[in-house]
């Protein structure tokens, strides 16, 4: 009783303080207009900037028209008329004195690099459209495209007569977002289950898990660009992810466990590892965003909703893999051993389970799952980049924390909640705030149910 009233009091205070803070932010009148933002090419603190990623962005050639190919952040789309691509159409993007132009390619795709994320005016030059082809009714042109938090934003100009935006009704939009969220949530779950297994068996909160996600996507891209067939490249990438898990455990984590290193120092070691891996990947892979084969996929119409083929495949693959992992955990000897170790390592060791072997296998499985998650994430975003794992690391953490640290099925449920929340919140929230909602939910859940949704109240053991 005492606890509840205390909680209510703190909640009240929290709301009050948050209100003051929000008021402070919002009450401030417009100032931005008077202060011309510095051009991105001369971002402050060139020598001491903490953003190593901001390395020489190159100056946008003054006067001459560029397509901004040198930039990582891109606005792109595909131009189709009645299902067939339209090429040679000029599209222009501009903001803050930056201007870039491109023409649609043979397959109708176009992409304009921009120096930084933000709001851009995108205009399709209607005079360059082929004879008899016009923008569909209600298509804004020029239009403002806004992005942040992702390196790529897609905007589609619909052509032809009588084409209206599909799924205008709120219900349809909701279902579409929900399906996309489910797909996103399940790919998050792949990584989250691995993270949760590792936490459960070793107690480590692994900040390098994001890099394990990146590693899978980068490997897949590497193998595919060697000319291997896509299916082989993907399988090799997943195997490589397991290898990274093996090497990490054998070379780093097992020796640290043997030394009796505490959990907090191990957490900080994992941060060091994350930095080292991230910049190593940047070193070899470069800062650009690359696409895996078949990253552009057609939209499929399933009843009232449309979903891209890749999303649908991703959804199916993650669902199947998670079911397999669940079956392995519940049915097989090693699965039971894993749960026993997660439950109580000394007891498991005493009952004859080789704890180190179990942990090694968990690391390999975690690595493989993260790699697969990375590949699917690369298709979902779409694109492979050196910091793609870092972008979803916190969402993975949020999933695991929501479900309850150390519980595998909690991680699954947490992931789905996060995925749904991220996608559905875009119906109301600005797209560049969609991750905020998920992180806030995590904090709020911790407030009322610190053990997470499925976490047991008292103890793991």
């Amino acid at each position: 009783m005492g606890r509840i009233s205390a909680l209510a009091r703190y909640m009240g205070m929290l709301v009050a303080v948050a209100g003051i803070f929000a008021g402070l932010l919002l009450a401030a009148p417009a100032v931005h207009a008077t202060t011309a933002p510095p051009p991105a090419s001369e971002s402050p603190a060139p020598e001491s900037s903490t953003e190593a990623t901001a390395q020489d962005s190159g100056s946008a050639g003054e006067g001459e028209v560029t397509d901004g190919a040198e930039y990582q952040d891109r606005i792109s789309g595909v131009l189709r008329n009645a299902g067939s691509p339209v090429s040679g159409v000029r599209i222009k993007a501009s903001a803050n004195g930056y201007e870039a132009e491109t023409e649609t390619a043979e397959n109708g795709s176009w992409s304009i690099g921009v120096p930084e994320q933000g709001a851009y005016e995108v205009e399709l030059d209607e005079s360059s459209l082929p004879e008899g082809v016009a923008l569909a009714e209600g298509q804004q042109n020029p239009r403002t495209v806004t992005f942040a938090g992702t390196s790529n934003i897609t905007t589609l100009f619909l052509l032809g007569e009588g084409i209206v935006l599909q799924g205008d009704s709120f219900g349809t939009k909701l279902i579409e977002r929900a399906v996309a969220g489910l797909s996103f949530g399940l790919l998050l779950a792949l990584s989250a289950v691995g993270l949760s297994l590792i936490f459960g068996t070793t107690g480590l909160t692994n900040f390098a898990h994001g890099e394990m996600v990146t590693f899978g996507a980068v490997l897949a891209f590497g193998f595919a660009s060697l000319g291997l067939p896509l299916w082989l490249a993907l399988i090799l990438a997943v195997v490589g992810g397991a290898g990274l898990g093996y090497v990490q455990d054998a070379g780093l984590w097992k020796p640290l466990r043997m030394r009796g290193t505490g959990l907090v120092p191990m957490m900080i070691v994992s941060i060091g590892l994350a930095l080292a891996l991230r910049y190593t990947i940047l070193f070899f892979f470069g800062g650009a965003t690359q696409q895996l084969p078949n990253s552009q996929s057609p939209m499929l119409e399933l009843g009232p909703i449309s979903i891209s083929r890749n999303n649908l495949v991703s959804l199916a693959v993650s669902l199947v893999v998670i079911l397999i992992v669940a079956a392995l955990l519940l049915r097989t000897r090693i699965g039971k051993a894993t749960r026993a170790v997660a439950d109580n390592p000394p007891l498991a060791a005493a009952s004859g389970i080789d704890v180190d072997r179990v942990i090694r296998i968990v690391w390999m499985a975690g690595g493989a799952l993260a790699a697969l998650g990375g590949i699917l994430w690369a298709y979902y975003r779409p694109g492979v980049s050196f910091n793609m794992g870092q972008q979803i690391l916190l969402l993975i953490f949020a999933s695991v924390t929501l479900g309850g640290l150390g519980t595998v099925f909690g991680a699954l449920i947490g992931s789905i909640i996060v995925g749904l929340f991220v996608e559905i919140s875009t119906l109301w929230l600005e797209a560049d705030l969609k991750y905020v909602g998920a992180l806030l939910i995590m904090i709020l859940v911790l407030l009322v149910r610190p053990q997470g949704i499925l976490g047991r109240r008292e103890r793991i053991g």
Partner: protein
Amino acid sequence: MDFGNILLGAVNEFFTPTTAAYALAALGLAVHFGYTGLLNFGQAGFMAIGAYGFAIPTLSFNAPLPVALLIAMLASVAFAVILGLPTLRLRADYLAIVTIAAAEIVRYIVTTNGLTEVTGSANGLAAFEGGFYSLNPFAPGVYNLGPFSLNERDLWIRVVAWTVVALACVVIWLLVRSPWGRVVKGIREDENAVRSLGKNVYAYKMQALIIGGMLGSLAGIIFTLPRGAVQPANYGTELTFFLYTALLLGGMSTVLGPVIGAMIFWAVLSLTQGLLYGAIESGAITFLNTTQAGQLRYILVGVALMLLMIFRPQGVLGNKKELSFA
């Protein structure tokens, strides 16, 4: 390759305002983590709160410097309280995840286009440092300090930044050797034991979180003043991790450790950059370009963080016996 210049560049890093900001923010982390055992992974968020809390009032309603400073500090306290309320009763790793998430939330919010009017979104804010430099007592001109020549603005910000660092060190030093410091160190070791002795652990943790957070926010202001701009991209999670590296370099349960750690951090970064670029320009290294050399340095930061944590967690100054964990 001009070794003299490279060395001089590294020495110069000892005294830059950026190093001072890192020292101050790392000192805040020392209060959090080194002394109280709070695993705050959101120090970048506190720095952002400080920077924006200072810049927004200045630009929005022409707040004079002291008012802007006060608002920034109040915002920092509010942020600490919001963070602390749900998490200070929870385990250390929960605090870590919540603080890092909160710092990212701050960054997303100041980046969102919906608030461009106030925060300048991804471009950030600029031209709010006038009030600070108008207080500059140094006459315009070039000041030669040993091998370094500074203009009056550089000199002023350096003097102020390092004075703040020195004052903060004195205050923290007084605090940690007081009975208050004894209680928080006890909490670091075992909070239930401290609770069983009749101390309000929660209140102490909150106080420590607020103090360290305010140091972080002050650091955020000092970080932005010489640049005259604040941009959200500078306040990502990596900033926090760099601060931890600096903290661990110097010694996390010491007062001077974070300061020395920040100096070493920036000097070594400058030194390796100078040497690598020099080697590339002179053709001694051909398998790297300068971009990759820049990335190589951050690989080294990560490796250094791991090695420090594993082999010398007490840092260069720390006393091995007084580590928060063995």
